[in-house]
């Protein structure tokens, strides 16, 4: 689908997922919606690519999953940050901010 999307920096998808879960458990679709809405549809993420990333985070133990009921009473799988996941979010957020700042610095000086 031809769109004028910004390509994601590598590893950013993890950060985005962690960030969107910072305020509480969400199911997969809700995470996708939140990321898209927050970026105002500006990020090129296929919905499908969310799930391998979620599973990788589960393997790492940063997330936990459980089945629950969605807002319209459907069975859905909810993801929640684990304490490690929260720690990882802070660490990655700091790293990311640093990276962005550095890039901006470079952009301004050049």
């Amino acid at each position: 689908m031809p769109k004028n999307d910004t390509q994601l920096l590598p590893g950013t998808l993890f950060l985005l997922i962690l960030k969107s879960l910072a305020r509480g458990p969400l199911h997969g679709y809700a995470i996708a919606k939140r990321i898209k809405n927050a970026s105002d549809n500006g990020l090129a993420i296929e919905d499908g690519s969310l799930y391998p990333a979620l599973n990788r985070l589960l393997v790492k133990g940063w997330l936990q999953a459980h089945w629950g009921t969605s807002e319209n009473n459907r069975k859905a799988r909810f993801y929640r940050l684990t304490p490690e996941g929260r720690k990882q979010l802070h660490a990655e957020a700091r790293e990311f901010e640093k990276l962005v700042k550095n890039i901006q610095l470079v952009m301004r000086t050049v």
Binding site: D47, N55, V59, K60, G61, R74
Partner: protein, 889 residues
């Protein structure tokens, strides 16, 4: 970075794979529906909403696969895939697979079996005995002499009392008795042991008790016995009330106080012990009087267990120090003597010392067989990899990495060798007791040689398996690494017989096989020839016309006087029998199991150095013994009935003893001192064989039985009659004298001689079987290579035929190719054999390890095998249809 937690998470995933797939499906489905519902809310039609949702989502399949992969160990997944592909490859060519697996099964199985035997002897020769790894055997040694002596009971007690580095000492001396239960009389083996025996080895009788402290003191003070489980089951019908019952052993009534547990065979490598008696009963079993107080009577076989952490060297130092103190305290008996510790596998007084080097050589042999088997399978794989060249090339051209291809080939090798290893372990399991089969058991005496599949065998088998995998995988890998994509894709298939650069690997493998089996053939040839030599060696007595047997007077409770009277009467009756030329008693028959008496001797004219106390073995024989046995007298006279207790003491020496102690002067009329008594030499006998057919001439002498009486004796009868007939007549004569006596089997001395060479025969059988196996494998390999070469060169053969070559020309062409390979292999094999057969030197008798006849016969056998292996491919070559071969192009 992968953490432990991550690992555990993945591991858990393996358990709930099926559920994961279902849940993922539900989750993705929910996502799509929720997105579609949102689009519908925005006013799209249901179908359009679903379509948009799918577009937003991307590939569901990819999402599913990638999610799943997040959980997997990738290498595991690849391995499983390779195994699947490998299994499919094997399944698709069953004849190849079966042949390859069979080769590997034989190769790996032979290795596992022989290793399990050797390992059994090395690490746990005595089943059920505790802490064998710290057990060592004790023997006496004399300075300046190579052989060993046994220990005396007082010396043993002193060592036990004064040493500090040992947990326990115990005595276990092999002995025998005739067990007469009901009507059956059978020779049975047992051990004379110290009272602490069962405690020291950590074996607890399942019924009754072991021996009590103090039961090994006093003269015949404690007639008690512990019997083996096997004896209890077979001869006592597993009587639960057995404890407290009595059994006559060597004429003395013993009380049965215990039954040993199942699977305990005593502590003697080679034989299964059936009963145990305490050392106080020694004189009942050993003969030669009460010896527990005699420092000069060296008769006990003993063991000591090191304390944990003590090295063999430290222990030896302490024992040596104690022995030199004994030497100092008792110079009369202990001068020039010391004591040595031996690892169990070198125990000098049982069969361990002789079995182990044999097993070592066998290990080398089976390793050769495995190499040949691997070469064979490697060859098959090569041929196949050539056939799969196209597949590999296509895969490589499609971008498969070389490493990935290699991994696939190695996995196939692994699969083959795993299957081979499973088969091999089965073979080893079936063969675990086969070592015993090679040695004939006699009468009630049964062999026990441990061989079991334990973790060590499994570990070695796995190592062998891995090695085989590497060997198998490497061959086609070399081939693959030379893949020339462009050339190979042009499928150029026509070849020339033997004229191929590519075939060097296959030919090399065949040459290797031929040379290895050539070495084994030479070895078998040498052993066969030396067995033949042993068999045809003159034993120094007539083996064919002399029968030997014995009457068990000891267990019947005869006194010395009764025994003398009985034996004299029996001898008179036997000599009067028709067909009997002469007969004589002697304490021991030559080459039997059982030891001759021995004594330190002194000779009038011979000056003994203070360091040396010559000990010589002797036999107590009756009048006319030498004539009956057919041992020639060199000079002097035989013993007669006149040489009795009241007459002057006399002796007959053999030639070697005469030359060694009298150095050229005539010993007749000279005196020799035996056990403190001076005897006059009255005759010189020719040397003969006493203990073994392979012994070198040793000093030996004879004394008259009447002057050195022992009740136990074997009867030798010179007669042309058959043993069975003699047994019947003899039984009648004996029962006429005493109806309660039992007769041992009547056998010709030749039989005795054959039994004594049983272990040589076993070695020949083993090496023969393995050599035959190697030859078979090599022939298969040769056949495979030649068939393949012929099948690949139909064009060339057809061309030759079209140009006028006759069938015989083609036959010659193919066979000469095979012969060339064999010749190269035989030359290499000869070089290797020249170096290796020296290892066999201890097993050879009267044959040089470089015996040309053995080499020549090995070559002849190899040549015949080559011709047979090449004949079918050669015949197939002559059947080439030139028209069709040429049209193929």
């Amino acid at each position: 970075m992968p953490t432990f937690r991550e690992f555990m998470n993945r591991l858990q995933f393996l358990r709930r794979r099926a559920r994961f797939d279902r849940e993922l499906h539900d989750e993705l489905h929910f996502h799509l529906e929720a997105r579609a519902a949102d689009f519908e809310d925005q006013g799209l039609s249901k179908d359009e909403a679903l379509r948009r949702a799918r577009i937003e989502f991307g590939s569901v399949q990819l999402a599913r696969e990638d999610s799943r992969e997040a959980w997997l160990f990738q290498w595991l997944e690849h391995l499983l895939m390779d195994l699947r592909v490998g299994a499919r490859m094997l399944w698709r060519s069953p004849s190849f697979s079966i042949l390859a697996i069979l080769c590997l099964t034989l190769g790996i199985g032979a290795n596992a079996a022989v290793f399990s035997w050797a390992e059994g002897l090395l690490f746990r020769p005595y089943p059920a005995v505790a802490h064998q790894e710290r057990l060592m055997a004790l023997s006496g040694i004399s300075r300046g002499e190579t052989g060993i002596t046994l220990l005396s009971w007082p010396d043993y007690l002193d060592l036990q009392r004064n040493s500090t580095l040992f947990d326990a000492f115990f005595v276990s001396k092999i002995t025998g008795t005739t067990l007469s239960i009901g009507e059956r009389a059978e020779r049975t083996l047992g051990s004379i042991v110290s009272a602490n025996y069962f405690e020291a080895i950590g074996v607890h009788p399942i019924l009754g008790r072991g021996f009590l402290p103090g039961e090994d003191t006093g003269s015949s003070g404690h007639p008690v016995t512990v019997i083996s489980y096997q004896l209890w089951q077979t001869r006592f019908k597993a009587d639960p009330q057995i404890i407290g019952k009595t059994q006559r052993l060597n004429g003395v009534t013993h009380t049965i106080v215990g039954v040993a547990p199942q699977g305990f065979y005593g502590t003697f490598v080679g034989w299964a012990m059936q009963f145990w008696v305490p050392a106080s009963m020694e004189e009942i079993f050993e003969g030669g009087g009460y010896k527990l107080g005699d420092r000069n009577a060296r008769w006990i076989e003993s063991y000591a267990r090191l304390k944990p952490g003590v090295s063999a060297q430290q222990a030896q130092q302490e024992i040596s120090a104690l022995a030199s103190r004994l030497e100092h305290d008792y110079p009369l008996t202990n001068r020039g003597r010391s004591v040595r510790l031996w690892p169990l596998w070198e125990t000098p007084f049982n069969n361990a010392g002789t079995l182990l080097p044999t097993l070592g050589i066998m290990l080398a042999v089976v390793a050769c067989v495995l190499l040949i088997a691997c070469a064979n399978v490697g060859n098959l794989l090569l041929v196949r990899s050539f056939a799969r060249r196209h597949e590999m090339t296509v895969r490589a051209a499609l971008g498969a990495g070389r490493a990935r291809l290699l991994k696939q080939l190695l996995t196939e090798g692994l699969l083959l060798s795993l299957l081979g290893a499973c088969g091999g372990l089965l073979v080893a399991h079936w063969c675990r007791h086969a070592l015993v089969l090679l040695f004939p058991a006699r009468g009630g005496v049964s062999m026990y040689l441990p061989g079991d599949i334990d973790w060590r065998v499994l570990a070695v088998t796995s190592a062998v398996c891995l090695l085989a995998t590497l060997l198998l995988g490497v061959v086609p890998a070399i081939q693959t690494s030379k893949l020339d994509l462009a050339a190979a894709l042009r499928t150029e298939m026509a070849g020339v017989v033997g004229g191929h650069g590519r075939s060097w690997a296959r030919s090399g493998l065949v040459v290797l096989q031929v040379s290895l089996s050539f070495v084994l053939l030479v070895g078998s040839g040498l052993l066969i020839k030396s067995l033949d030599k042993i068999r045809s060696t003159n034993p120094g007595f007539s083996a064919h016309r002399v029968l030997t047997t014995a009457v068990d007077l000891v267990s019947a409770g005869y006194s010395v006087q009764q025994a003398k009277t009985f034996q004299d009467e029996l001898l008179d009756r036997v000599q009067a029998l028709p067909g009997v030329e002469s007969a004589a008693f002697a304490r021991l028959a030559p080459l039997s199991y059982g030891s001759y008496s021995s004594s330190p001797i002194a000779v009038d004219a011979y000056n003994v150095s203070p360091e040396e106390q010559p000990t010589v073995e002797y036999n107590e024989v009756g009048p006319g013994y030498l004539a009956t046995m057919g041992i020639p007298l060199v000079s002097g006279r035989e013993f007669t009935r006149a040489d009795d207790q009241s007459a002057a003491l006399v002796a007959i020496v053999n030639q070697t003893m005469a030359t060694q102690f009298w150095k050229g002067s005539n010993p007749i009329g000279q005196r020799v001192q035996v056990k403190g008594r001076w005897m006059t030499v009255v005759g010189i006998a020719k040397d003969s064989k006493y203990q073994s057919m392979r012994e070198i001439p040793t000093p030996f002498f004879y004394v008259p039985r009447s002057q050195n009486f022992a009740i136990a004796a074997s009867l030798h009868i010179r007669t042309p009659l058959a043993p069975q007939d003699m047994a019947i007549t003899l039984g009648r004569e004996i029962h006429a004298l005493d109806a309660n006596l039992a007769l041992y089997e009547v056998i010709p001395l030749q039989e005795q001689l054959d039994r004594s060479t049983a272990s040589q025969k076993a070695a020949v059988t083993l090496l023969g079987v393995l050599g035959g196996l190697a030859l078979l494998l090599a022939a298969i390999g040769l056949y495979g290579v030649m068939s393949y070469a012929v099948s690949q060169s139909t064009r060339e053969l057809g061309l030759r035929m079209a140009l006028g070559a006759r069938a015989s020309d083609l036959l010659r062409l193919v066979i000469s190719q095979g012969l060339a390979l064999t010749l190269v292999g035989a030359v290499l094999g000869t070089a290797a054999a020249l170096g290796l057969t020296r290892l066999l030197v201890n097993y050879l008798y009267g044959v040089s390890p470089h015996d040309p006849l053995a080499f020549a016969s090995a070559f002849a056998v190899m040549l015949v095998a080559t011709l047979v292996a090449c004949l079918v491919p050669a015949w197939r070559a002559t059947r080439t249809d030139p028209m069709r071969a040429l049209r193929q192009e």
